[in-house]
Point group: C2
Chain length 207, copies 2
Amino acid sequence: MRVVIPLYDRFTALDAVGPYEVLRLVPGAEVTFVADRPGPIQADSPALAMVATATYADVTDCDVLVVPGGIGTHDRLTDRPLLDFLVGMANTARWTTSVCTGSLLLGAAGLLAGRRATTHWARASLLARYGATHTPGRVVIDGNVVTAAGVSAGIDMALSLAERLTDRLTAEAIQLAIEYDPQPPFATGCAATAPQRVKDRVTAGLG
Amino acid sequence: MRVVIPLYDRFTALDAVGPYEVLRLVPGAEVTFVADRPGPIQADSPALAMVATATYADVTDCDVLVVPGGIGTHDRLTDRPLLDFLVGMANTARWTTSVCTGSLLLGAAGLLAGRRATTHWARASLLARYGATHTPGRVVIDGNVVTAAGVSAGIDMALSLAERLTDRLTAEAIQLAIEYDPQPPFATGCAATAPQRVKDRVTAGLG
């Protein structure tokens, strides 16, 4: 089973690594990080680069496509080679998925037209541009298109996907293997219920 | 504020990327991935390498040390250059931290003697070798040494640390920025409460 995760400059690393860490534990899974060039791809901080081992031309099909988001998304909404690659993957994939603003790339590729979908809460209004209906929810499933909310939501999405790809016991075991028993210290992780002052702090920029 | 995250062959990527994604959002933070050599360091699957931008000799001090775990930990328990680097960092750090079996490296470096600590649930018995007392908990704080449980627990740890490094509002905003409102699909993330059949599945190897 092939899992393909495209990388592009200024992607958000946790968007990609959360699902990777879950899906790589699915028996028989082979995860491939793909980009327009092989080698290190810079994440959305100068601290981190992750290595793409394949280019678009190297990969002709997959079982699961996972598109991460990041501040670099905006620059890629008209990146024809990337969008064509996403269409090609989606045509072969059992599951076409995204994390955070990765859904905007699916949208720009024409893959969300008429679909319910989600994205990072601060970018939710942009989904309508692509004919998608923003749907509240940490993981939104519409047919074989699965979109996750911001950044950390990719872990929840991938665990749900792991059950569909295997069986419940296997997915439960993967959750235990990564000891995913979250105990967030604050009650501010969801924009619908977070205090306005916390939202203001994020939208003003944390710096 | 300098955050140092050492990498070594066959580290677990989410152990490193969870805290990175939180701590890079702390105002003024600069995260550096360090290894015995610069360049790509292979994670514990063939799919992923992350780039170290500095070597041990390049970094003389830090504010926060985050040691990830992984199946590669075992091979590093007698890696003197790495262990010496950890001691040097801990001598300067305000916070010495680990995720998953990263705590065994802190232990091997002599940094857990007489401390309460945690690690991945399947390796908990090994902490005693280093004079540490295994303490149940997702995030265990003893003085300025903070150890997190397996893999995903680094996110919770880093958010707690973010509050201590800044203030509550900033840490709450970071949690919202990464939309950390976890909704794990199963109730099997904690070894103390997971059914035995799920634990058996993990310890037998998921493959």
